[in-house]
Amino acid sequence: MQLLGGGDVRLASIVWLSVQVSAAAVLIASLIGLPAGALLSIGRFPGRRGLIVAVNACMGLPPVVVGLTVYLLLSRAGPLGEWGLLFTPAAMTIAQSVLVTPIIIALTRQAVDDAWQEYAEQLRSLRVSTPQAALTVLWDLRFSLLTALMAGFGRATAEVGAVMIVGGNIDGVTRVMTTAIALETSKGDLPLALALGAVLIALVLLLNVSAYAINEFARKRYG
């Protein structure tokens, strides 16, 4: 704890940046993933099963490969170079969104699959349109989906490969918890790296405990 106390302000800004980047990534991933997951569950179209397999496979995308691909896209020499996003937190958020979206899609699809069995007939009896029914089911599943978002957030905050390449680990600008740990390890300062690691784990643990508590509360209140 003493080690961390010394770099207090810098540590706080590194932690805050990690949270910002990953939270933004989860937000983007949800905006895409929640409707996509619901559609994938409910819809019937050619190639649906292949798409489910593909999404599941993408959950295991290696972060460093995603980082490299996004780097090549955002580099000045690349197609999106004009946007000037390389080595900014925005680039890190983009890369992490790519990693988290398949997780959200897959977990949402699973949750909706289970719920749809229960809800489908009643909603169709009420003549609710399929898109509206999907939204209704998603809203009804909001607490379970929160757990899916936490899973996504955990994956985002834990990865180092993507954010290192597209962020550049720039001191004060794109240094997050995982890249800071990598740097301190490189400098041989293992105690500090471990201390940072402990902070990261504590953060993720705290979030997961909160998600669990929220779920328990919801179960008792809403049924």
Partner: protein
Amino acid sequence: MAEPLLALESLCWSAGGRTVIDRVTTALAAGPRTVILGPNGAGKSVLMRLAHGLLAPTAGAVRWAAGTPPPQAMVFQRPVMLRRTALANIEYALAAAGVPVRERQARALEAMTRVGMGSAAARMARILSVGEQQRLALARAWALRPAVLFLDEPTASLDPGAARWVETVIDAIHAGGTKIVMSTHNLAQARRLADEVLFIARGRLVEHTPAERFFRAPSTAEAQAFIQGESV
């Protein structure tokens, strides 16, 4: 018969190579309470879903007198409620039916009161007892002011007390002018509620008879065996 409301024309439905509904042809009038009776697995549930439009027939047709299907509602064996208050569940159904926002709350509350649950409006629907949820499902259906109310074994999951409550509500809904089409395998309940009986066995319509005659002297051996409690 009075002007038919709904006609089933050579209705067929099969799945997985098996014929579940086999050329059912009949017509239903708007007034009488129709009870679909039959042993388990006869196809009662499938027949109701075909009539209500939840399933598409593999052959034959469902024809409504008015041309387009009128407003209808269905109550299932197990009630399905959303994770919101009881009142909000009814308001949701009203919204889906296009009822303007300002009318929804009043109509929902009225429906809940009529089923004797006015005080439960703010409670979370999914933690109500099964009997209360089923009454809530009826309130939801009633609030829609349907021309036809389908009920698929609505009291099969309920204790006798709750079942009687549900029957009382069904009566009241019928008194308000809604056509009742209900399936059950409970003979006593059928005797209480039916004005006419559709007897289904192995996917075929075996009898379509006014209730009093059906229970006193059914025309077919299968119906006879069913009433006497033998397996058909």
